[in-house]
């Protein structure tokens, strides 16, 4: 097994920075960060029996920006959540400067100087308080501090933190009026107040503009030069190669690769992220493609979907791949009328739809199997039977009354046809496994008049066996001349199942490939904001 996490004691280009003293001026003890070294050794973590992390070693040094890379589900977020105390670890050790840390809760992590700046900045901010108060929030909430809050000292300390970062923030404004980028800065400034030693940035650039991204990197570089350990989770290779010092790649819950950024290149990193091409079991399928069923032109919604044109034919499976945050779900929701579109039009068999509600899309034959199945796809407290028959109730009804016999037989048929593993048709869906819940979420459309199926990450959180079933079901639908749209961040799936693969990035379709014309490496290149020369 390849394991390259052992620290290589080659000279680090940031050694000069490591000797620099921190500019911390808050609190009594100005923390001295020198030769700092964070090591995570043999980290293991399982979620209800499924191993998410297997013997992971990870190391980051003071005075470097360390990129953590990996495809979806590689385990990088899990690893960082363990570091920041959000998840307890099953096995392994975390050491800072060779000293073993006991991290069981987020409070432990913060006390030890490990902070995380999450993408959802609003969860950590109090919108009605001022910027200065938000920067000082943990300090103000600390019971051990003095009882009285002194506005001028709050202002002063917040200002010092901003100066240290080299940013300007309107300290007396309320936070709810700030832009997202500014809110991130508030959280970063807060980590300084809390005497952070390690700061983890979890995909911070995804929602930022080019200019805001540059400001963020300036701040990160400054923190690096002041000796912080900066860990940067990102999908965007150009950023990693432009801004980071070292990088670590994870795959399938394991550490696979660590290198100085200068010693590697994007191709190698992509190869490491994908590993040996894993052969999923896709059912053999002969495409039989006919007329255009679904047509979309110039779809727009906010910054998430920016001008999407699309055509899907009967019997065709179109895979749309993109990384998390590329706008796939948003695009799917526009097509099914779940969200209103700001511009653009959708046609089914050439007829323009006026969609106010998913019910309107359904009348035209568009079915949407959403990504968040527990939240949007199934009714967990209802039985398998009632879940399955919901979209076709009107067919089971006579003068308003349901035909229970017919309903039962349809439910039984779908359960058998899809191989849904359930104690009985009356079992609440909450008791089914993820894969079987997903089959219910798909199976309910079987008896309906849907001709266009929009799948959003249909294999998310689904085991291998159920995955194979789902691929088979989707293949069957295509052979029945349905039009299939398959939104996924699993590149291999799109290649395996689709007749055409379209790459989506930052709300736009950037590249299209025919069947067997493309490799995962190429898809990942375009999906991670790569551009043709």
């Amino acid at each position: 097994m390849m394991n390259m996490s052992k620290p290589d004691h080659t000279a680090s280009k940031s050694s000069a920075a490591q000797t620099k003293e921190s500019l911390h001026s808050t609190g009594s003890a100005a923390t001295r960060i020198s030769r700092s070294l964070l090591r995570m050794e043999g980290i293991e973590k399982a979620f209800s029996g499924v191993k998410a992390l297997k013997q992971v070693d990870f190391e980051a040094r003071g005075g470097e920006i360390h990129a953590l890379l990996g495809a979806n589900g590689a385990g990088k977020s899990t690893l960082m959540k363990i570091l920041s105390g959000a998840y307890p670890l099953d096995r392994g050790e975390i050491k800072l400067h060779g000293e073993r840390l006991e991290i069981k809760t987020p409070t432990d992590a913060k006390r030890l100087g490990i902070h995380c700046v999450y993408q959802e900045v609003d969860t950590a901010l109090v919108p009605q308080l001022s910027v200065a108060e938000n920067i000082m929030l943990d300090r103000m909430a600390d019971a051990k501090q003095r009882l009285w809050v002194n506005p001028s000292s709050i202002q002063r300390m917040a200002q010092q933190a901003c100066d240290q970062l080299g940013v300007h923030l309107p300290l007396s404004h309320v936070v709810e009026r700030l832009s997202l980028a500014e809110k991130q800065m508030v959280l970063i400034a807060r980590t300084l107040i809390e005497e952070a030693k390690v700061v983890v940035f979890d995909e911070p650039t995804a929602p930022l503009s080019q200019q805001e991204t540059e400001v963020l990197f300036r701040v990160m570089r400054r923190m690096r030069d002041q000796g912080f350990i900066v860990i940067f989770i990102s999908h965007r290779l150009p950023e990693v190669f432009g801004e980071c010092d070292r990088l670590t790649v994870m795959r399938d819950g394991q550490h696979v690769f660590t290198s100085e950024v200068a010693d590697t290149n994007p191709d190698e990193v992509i190869k490491e992220m994908l590993g040996e091409p894993f052969q999923e079991q896709f059912p053999p399928r002969t495409s039989n493609i006919h007329d255009v069923l679904l047509e979309a032109k110039g779809l727009h919604a906010g910054t998430k979907v920016r001008g999407v044109d699309l055509e899907v034919r009967a019997g065709e499976i179109v895979g749309i791949v993109g990384l998390v945050g590329a706008g796939k779900s948003e695009c799917a929701r526009l097509l099914s009328g779940a969200d209103p579109m700001q511009a653009g039009e959708v046609r089914v068999r050439g007829i323009k739809l006026n969609m106010k509600d998913p019910a309107d899309a359904l009348l035209a034959g568009i079915a949407h199997i959403p990504e968040e199945r527990r939240k949007e796809g199934v009714f967990v407290q209802e039985s398998v039977r009632t879940n399955i028959t919901l979209p076709i109730l009107n067919k089971l009804t006579r003068i308003g009354f349901l035909n229970r016999k017919q309903e039962t037989s349809i439910a039984e048929r779908v359960i058998e046809q899809f191989g849904i593993k359930t104690a009985s048709r009356e079992t609440e869906v909450a008791y089914l496994s993820g894969g079987n819940q997903q089959k219910v979420s798909i199976g309910k459309w079987v008896g309906s008049d849907a001709v266009i199926y929009i799948f959003d990450e249909p294999t998310k959180g689904v085991d291998v066996g159920a995955k194979r079933d789902i691929f088979r079901i989707i293949g069957d639908l295509a052979s029945q001349q349905k039009a299939i749209l398959y939104f996924t961040s699993e590149l291999g799936e799109a290649i395996g199942i689709a007749d055409r693969v379209i790459v989506m990035c930052d709300g736009q379709f950037v590249k299209e490939f025919g069947r067997n014309e493309v490799t995962q490496e190429q898809l990942l290149f375009y999906a991670s904001a790569g551009r043709e020369e």
């Binding site: 959403p370 939240k375 949007e376 407290q381 919901l390 229970r404």
Partner: protein, 337 residues
């Protein structure tokens, strides 16, 4: 995962708890009180809960779509005085006397759902506000006086009409089956329970209401017009409350001011007791009826044991909080599973 002994016990308590408590309470009173377990007393109990059961059915509808209708009590108050006034002040025929309050109930439901569906005001807050508005309208309408036959009007004249006998039969009439007295409102209540149960369990619209309440976004993506469903739930709730108001007027033979205010809490308690009947875990009409019976039995028995009427709210409130405790504790456990 293995269910612990404690969890099993909890599930059992959830499933059969309400029934066991009712049977226990019933047995206790039957042994303790000589006349409790007699045909006439049982008829009394059922008659006493007939009005609140109608209101509780309405609350059940609003809870099924994951809402909450606080305005039902005020709707009862308003429709009671309107019903009485239509006869006493305006001498209207029976048909109008019944139709107008029902329309008022439907209107209150429409107003509730307008603010909830259109402006996305949380159900509790929207119906709280409407509750006060409707209560205010009913006081303004009557100028604060109860309405009775040939009442003295503020301008010194006497009101021209009286509550008709046909109308009073709705709430006071009874007929006899062998030795048993069967009050007409009890028959109406049983019919309503049966109709609502069939509606919810066996019709498409009933199913859609449950699905909307279970997961609004999933229902929407499945093609259900969730706004329309929620609107209907509140309209039905308002109509049920209006029936309660009509029955109240007929029962007491006057248009009492503030008649409905105390009924809200009782109805809500009945619905939440109903949550746990047979482990349904969601609002259901049969459960609501059983919850209503439980409260009726408790109040009747304790009254016969010389407990004063002013203690009744303590009993009803206790039933409500216990039902809520069981429901939320067990439902939360289940969700975590």
């Amino acid at each position: 995962m293995e269910t612990s002994y404690r969890d099993k016990l909890l599930q059992f308590a959830f499933r059969y708890g309400a029934i066991i408590v009712i049977l226990g309470v019933f047995a206790f009173f039957a042994i303790k009180l000589e006349y409790f377990f007699s045909g006439s007393n049982i008829a009394d109990i059922l008659r006493s809960i007939s009005i609140v059961t109608f209101i509780a059915i309405g609350v059940t509808f609003s809870l099924i779509v994951d809402g909450f209708d606080l305005s039902v009590g005020s709707t009862v108050s308003l429709t009671t005085v309107v019903t009485a006034s239509l006869m006493v002040w305006y001498e209207m025929p029976l048909f109008i006397v019944i139709i107008v309050p029902l329309l008022i109930g439907a209107c209150v439901g429409l107003i509730n759902s307008f603010f909830i569906v259109r402006f996305k005001i949380p159900d509790l807050l929207a119906t709280l506000a409407v509750m006060y508005i409707v209560a205010g309208i009913h006081k303004t309408y009557t100028k604060g006086y109860s309405i009775y036959n040939n009442m003295q009007m503020t301008d010194g004249t006497k009101a021209p009409g009286v509550m008709s006998n046909a109308f009073l039969t709705i709430g006071q009439g009874e007929f006899y089956v062998g030795n048993f007295t069967v009050p007409i409102p009890v028959i109406l209540m049983l019919l309503a329970v049966a109709a609502a149960h069939i509606f919810l369990a066996y019709t498409r619209f009933g199913r859609q209401m449950y699905m909307t309440g279970g997961n609004e976004e999933a229902a929407r993506l499945s093609g259900i017009k969730v706004k329309r469903v929620r609107t209907w739930a509140y309209v039905l709730s308002g109509i049920c409350a209006a029936v309660g108001g009509i029955l109240f007027a007929s029962r007491v033979g006057t248009g009492q001011i503030d008649a409905g205010a105390p009924l809200l809490m009782e109805a809500v308690a009945a619905v939440f007791v109903g949550f746990s009947v047979f482990g349904a875990g969601k609002p259901n009409v049969l459960g609501t009826f059983i919850g209503s019976v439980l409260i009726g039995v408790l109040v009747n028995g304790l009254t016969m044991m010389n407990l004063q009427y002013y203690t009744h709210d303590i009993i009803k409130g206790t039933v409500l909080i216990l039902a809520l405790a069981v429901t939320f504790y067990v439902v939360k456990k289940r969700r975590a599973a």
